[in-house]
Every structure is written in C-alpha cells, then in structure tokens.
Symmetry: C2
Subunit: 404 residues, 2 copies
C-alpha cells in the first residue's frame, strides 16, 4: 500500500473499469486525434447505486470539463462519464464550457439519464476548441458500443491516451475468498505535466461496493493523497486532472471501510506507478524515499524537492550517482535535520554518510530502469516516498514538438 | 535598472574587479580543473578602507567556504578574497572546513593580513575534497601575480568559470563627469544550478566608494534582490552561492546612497543577464514579465512559477508559442487574478486574451535568442520580471555528463 516499483498484490482476472459488476464502457475513434486512435470514451454505471466522488486539479486555470464535473459531483451522484483525448478544452472560455455542457446533454439523451449526472473529462492541447462535429458522432458511437467485457475496458483505457505509450488498467478484489467479494477497477492516462496535487491525468475508478457518497469521498481522498499526490514526473500541474470513483453497489456488499480504502489506495498506487513508468521520454523510474524524518510532512517535502530537481534527474539519466545534487535539494527544504547527519543511499549504496563522502560511488549501478534514492534525515521515525523519473533527451524532444 | 536582455548603460572603459581604485587581482592555473585553465583567483583590497558586505546561499547544506566567509563578513571587513573553480568544497565535512581555513591562513601569510579578513569562495563538483597540494601553490602564484590592470581583471574572471563559456565582467561609473566619480567593478560565474534566492554563482563586486559596512550591506541586499534573485536558470539552488561587495574608499568620495545603490543594482542586473545568457545549453533567453499585478510579490510569484516550468522551457526550445503551458503555471500560484481576465503576449503577440484564444499564434516568431513572455494579471499596477532560459538537449547532455 505504498508507492513502489513493483506491485505484487493479487488482482482479479478482469481488469479496468468494467471489472466490477454494474459498469459498461466503450472507447471509439472520433477523429479528435490525428493518429486515428480511440479518442472518445464512455463509462456508464448501471446501479443499483450511483454513488460517486471526485478529486480535481487545484490549478486555478481549470478546464471547462473540470468546472462542469465539479458541479455534477456536488450531489454525490454520477451515472456516466464522458472522456476524450485530443483536446483539453482548457482556456476555451464560454464556448468551451458550452461544448462540455452540450456533450453532457447529448450523453444524457443517448443513455436516458440526467445531464447533471454526466461527468466530463478531457485531455490534450490547451487553448483549442473541441471539434463538436467530430465529438458528438463519437459520443453516439460510444453509446452504441457500451459493453461490460474486458474488451470494453481495454478500448476505454486506450481512448484516453495522449502521449502514453501503454494503456493503464488496474483491479483489486476486496474480502476473503468464498465471501461476497467486492471488486475495484480503474484506468488512468497521463505521461507529462504530472505533479503532486494532481497531474495531467484522468483516472476513473469503479467498484461494485455499496458506499455512501461520503464514504466514497473519504476513501478517494485518502487514496489519492497516498498515490497520485506522490507521483511527480515533471513538476507541472495540469488544468484538467480528474480522478473519479463510481460505486454501483451491484455486489450488494457494504465493505469494511478500512479494508476498502486500503485496496483502493493500493489500486491507485499501481496506477500512479504505471503513470510514472510511462512518463514522457523516461529511461529511469526513481523512487525517492525519505526516512527517519521528524514528521511525514517533512519526509514528503524532502522527497518532493528532490523529485523536482532537473539536476538530479539529468544525473540519473546519465547513470551518474551524483549525491551532491540530492543533498543540495535537501538543503532547500524546511525539514528538521542537521546537515552533518544526513545519509543518502542510491540503489542501496550509502554514497553519502554524515553529510559527507560515504561508500565509493563507483559501487552504484544505474543500468536498471528502477532507481532507489533513500535519504536518512536522522531526525525521527516518519517516512514518505515520491515516485519520479529521469529527465532525458526524449523528454525535451517530445515536449518541444508536442503542439506543432 | 531592471532585468532586461540588453544593457545600454554607460560603462567605464576598464571593467571587472580592478576597475575601481584600490584593488588588485590575479587568476592562475593550479591544476584543479582538468582543462588546464585558470582555477585559483585572488582579489585584494588595498584600502584605505576595507569595508565589505556579503550575501550567501540560503541552502542549508552550505559549503565549507560559505560557512567560513559568513564568519569573515561578520565584522564588515574583508582584505582579500580567495576563489577557486574545480571543486565546490561542499559536503566535505570537517576536513573540508579545515582546508578552507588553511587556505585563508595561507593567503593571510602571503599578503600580510589577518586570516579572519580573508573570504573564500569555491565552485565545482560537490562532495570532493580540494587537492591542497595543488591549491596552495596556486595561491602562492596568484599572490605573486596580483596586479591592477585590465589583464588582471580578465584572468580573475576566467579563473572562476566552470561550465561558463565566457567570462563575465562589469563596471559602472557613478556621479557626473568632472566631479570625483566613483567606480563599481565586478565579475561573476555561474551557468547551471541557478535559482532565485541565489544560484551557483560567485560574484565579487568592488568599488572605490567610501562606505560604512551597514551602507555596503544595505546596498548589496537591495541590488541582489532585484537582480540575481530574479534570475532562474534551472530552479536548482546551489550550496556555494556567494556575492561579495568590497569597498576600498580609494576615491575619497562618499556617494549619494540612492544613486550608488541604483548603479550597483544596474551592474548586478547586467551580470545576472550575462549568467542567464550563458546558461548551460540554452538556445533562448526568456524574460518573463508579469504586470498589472496586485502586488510586486504577486508579480514575482507568477514570473518565477512560469520560469520554473520545464514545459514552458521545452516549448520555447521547440519555437512553439504554447501559451496554454504559461496559463497552466499561472494557475498554480496564489496571486490575485481571475482566470478569464488573463492576457499573455509572447514576443508582443497577445496569443491569449481574457483567458482564451487571442491573436493567431502563428504570428509569433521564436527564431531570435531573446524571448519576451508578458503576463497581464489585470489585478493592479505592480510588475516584476524574471530571466530564465529554455530547456534543451544540450542542458540534458551537459548535466547528465558533468561529474563523470
């Protein structure tokens, strides 16, 4: 239940948003993306419950669908979610909001639900209006294609990809075998503009648990705080981040909330790790663990500071265990520590001891994809891990060419 | 007197630390750098006054010479400054501090001054002890080479370079022609790990003005706040930043402090601009001006946030006027503004109006080195400019290979 490179927790055979009972999904090609790949996605909750919670970007320049979906979530009910890639619908003014509204109305009409229960999420370039003449036919096709099988989950997860290279799906089963188990499913996209306090990412989580909207909200906030909020690819916060949890109640089971929250957190950690593993241009996934901190807040501040250092990230790209750059970032924080009591280990080699030279840095190998940087503050017992990735030529290339 | 791309203010013919009366300098090759270029530098103040002020990195993991020089500056007197490139002497423990102390003692002996009046500044790789067997002979050679001519200024400025591609010198003359004028001189180094609150940079400013140490301190803090604190290359704060101002009083003139501070600020802005113009791998120098802000603090927060965005910086590298990435950063700040009242101009083309699409982005040319991004918050009358540079393949290359 923490951010780590490898997740070995048991998964259900089915994965993605249709894994739990009560959900259908579809992903189709509407032509919003020039690649001709899936770009319009629908997820429908068939009940009997329509409980929902949402967490959104804290960016004050929020996209039209974020404004819309916050309103939709205000009564804790969502019947369907419309998602699109190929356009963020951010910084698009009244026309952009009107387009979001109109597409939600169209979904409502097609699925015979209320538009005020249709959440919308968009991703892609900022500052461009969505081509409604393409989007609306796509919505119609998606509604017609809604299905509950694995293929539907797969098509949906593919439809929200932008610069992602792989679709990202997850599932968890809660409760002992033999009992009436609860299933959690989910999908995510996001490969750039990833930062704590949520990142360019769209995440839809589904479950057949019986939840109140308060329970869903509490569980979702706890889960995102431990997962997506601790994944930072490039320090840039998106205008469109949206994480939704839909609960159908189709299992008929009210879960133990501690157990449910743990499984939801675990699922979110897996998705967060998948986002970082697929970060734009990344050669290395870097887990930055700060331990022996006076508080979890201190540990998190230190891990986040290091995760945002371009110099640390380029050093890892260059396979250079440059611990001085790590210490230099630690020194910019307000965390409790004494500079001459800091230890830093890179891939388990303690290259910095007591704030100075430790074991031979040549003992560190950075050939593998996964890198561990562990910072011992020697100031307490708290810890926190943040996942990030290296800064590479491919990141520069991809982001200098993205909109052109 | 603000950060701008081009400085057209009058300079004295002589430039660098020996431009004012009362100063000698030298730069020699001691073999600390594998390149065989100058790496040990001395600057001596010959009085009659020995007034000094210093501003240092706020990084809590500060290098040994920073700890030493802070002590030296505590009585407002400096007779000489020893600087070296080829090693930062940071994270080097008691041995590192001992080496700084020993080298100051050696300078004191050679120049017949007190070691407690010898400031020390180092730059280079963190976590490596300085080779004293090379450094001390270099100090001796530098002491023997001390001179007051332009060549001495040039050799000194060359000796503090690390990844800098050009030496950085400055001078200003204060006071009307015909009167007894005051001269300000200076040199700087720094091309990476540059961030507000001071950056990997060493700066020595000299003047022949008659100043008290309080006047020197006030003027220096005012000047750095408007210049080096508003230059951010890569968001990384160094362990070694040091800015020193030495005043010899050799002109015999006590300046009008407003006029002197303005000239000192102007000189610092020129040096800060030179640092950013020579930033590692940079193709573009970017001036980010936020205006119509409710306060200068708001304007500064917004300009700094944008200057730290890897996505904005890669877009500029790709000659892509991607204003959505600018707005997205503005949205992460606490500054007063309404999202639908924001305007953004890139090279004078208002590509974003009222938070949405403005003039045609294809009208923006990013072929030239200098780029202007202007953000209108529509919330007041304050403004602030921060200088940064783009994020390029060469930055990644240089910083993934620096220590190996």
């Amino acid at each position: 239940m923490s951010l780590a490179h490898t997740n070995t927790h048991p998964s259900a055979t089915a994965t993605g948003v249709t894994a739990p009972a009560g959900f259908s999904a579809a992903g189709v090609t509407a032509g919003l993306k020039s690649t001709g790949k899936n770009d319009v996605v629908l997820v429908q909750n068939h009940g009997p419950n329509f409980t929902a919670a949402g967490v959104f970007t804290s960016n004050r320049v929020a996209a039209a669908p974020v404004h819309w979906s916050k309103q939709v979530l205000s009564d804790g009910r969502v019947d369907a979610v419309l998602l699109n890639s190929g356009g963020a619908n951010a910084c698009t003014g009244a026309e952009g909001f009107g387009n979001t509204h109109r597409s939600a109305e169209y979904v409502a009409e097609l699925l015979s639900v209320s538009a005020s229960d249709v959440a919308v999420a968009s991703t892609g370039l900022i500052g461009v209006q969505l081509p409604m003449d393409k989007l609306l036919p796509g919505v119609k096709a998606a509604a017609a294609a809604l299905a509950t099988d694995q293929g539907a989950s797969d098509e949906a997860a593919a439809g929200i990809m932008t610069t992602d290279t792989v679709p990202k799906l997850v599932s968890r089963v809660v409760g002992p075998a033999g009992s009436t188990q609860i299933t959690i499913g989910g999908m995510a996209k996001g490969a750039g503009m990833l930062a704590p306090a949520l990142a360019t990412m769209l995440v839809v989580l589904t479950t057949d648990a019986v939840l109140t909207s308060e329970q869903a909200d509490t569980a979702l906030r706890a889960a995102t705080a431990m997962s997506f909020d601790r994944a930072d690819s490039d320090g840039c916060m998106s205008t469109n981040d949206t994480v939704l949890l839909l609960a159908s109640g189709a299992s008929g089971t009210t879960p133990d909330m501690a157990e449910f929250t743990a499984a939801l957190t675990d699922a979110c950690c897996e998705l967060a790790a998948k986002l970082i593993e697929d970060a734009e241009g990344a050669d290395h996934t870097i887990a930055i663990r700060t331990y022996n901190a006076a508080s979890e807040a201190d540990a998190l501040e230190v891990s986040k500071a290091v995760s945002r250092s371009n110099l640390v990230k380029t050093a890892v790209f260059g396979k250079d265990p440059n611990w001085g750059r790590v210490l230099s970032e630690v020194g910019t924080t307000k965390a409790a520590f004494e500079p001459d009591e800091l230890n830093v280990s890179i891939n388990s080699v303690m290259v910095c001891k007591n704030g100075g030279v430790g074991e031979d840095r040549n003992l560190v190998s950075l050939e593998e994809r996964n890198v561990s940087i562990e910072i011992d503050l020697n100031a307490g017992t708290a810890e926190a891990t943040v996942l990030t990735n290296d800064l590479t030529h491919d990141y520069v290339h991809e982001n200098s060419a993205y909109s052109s």
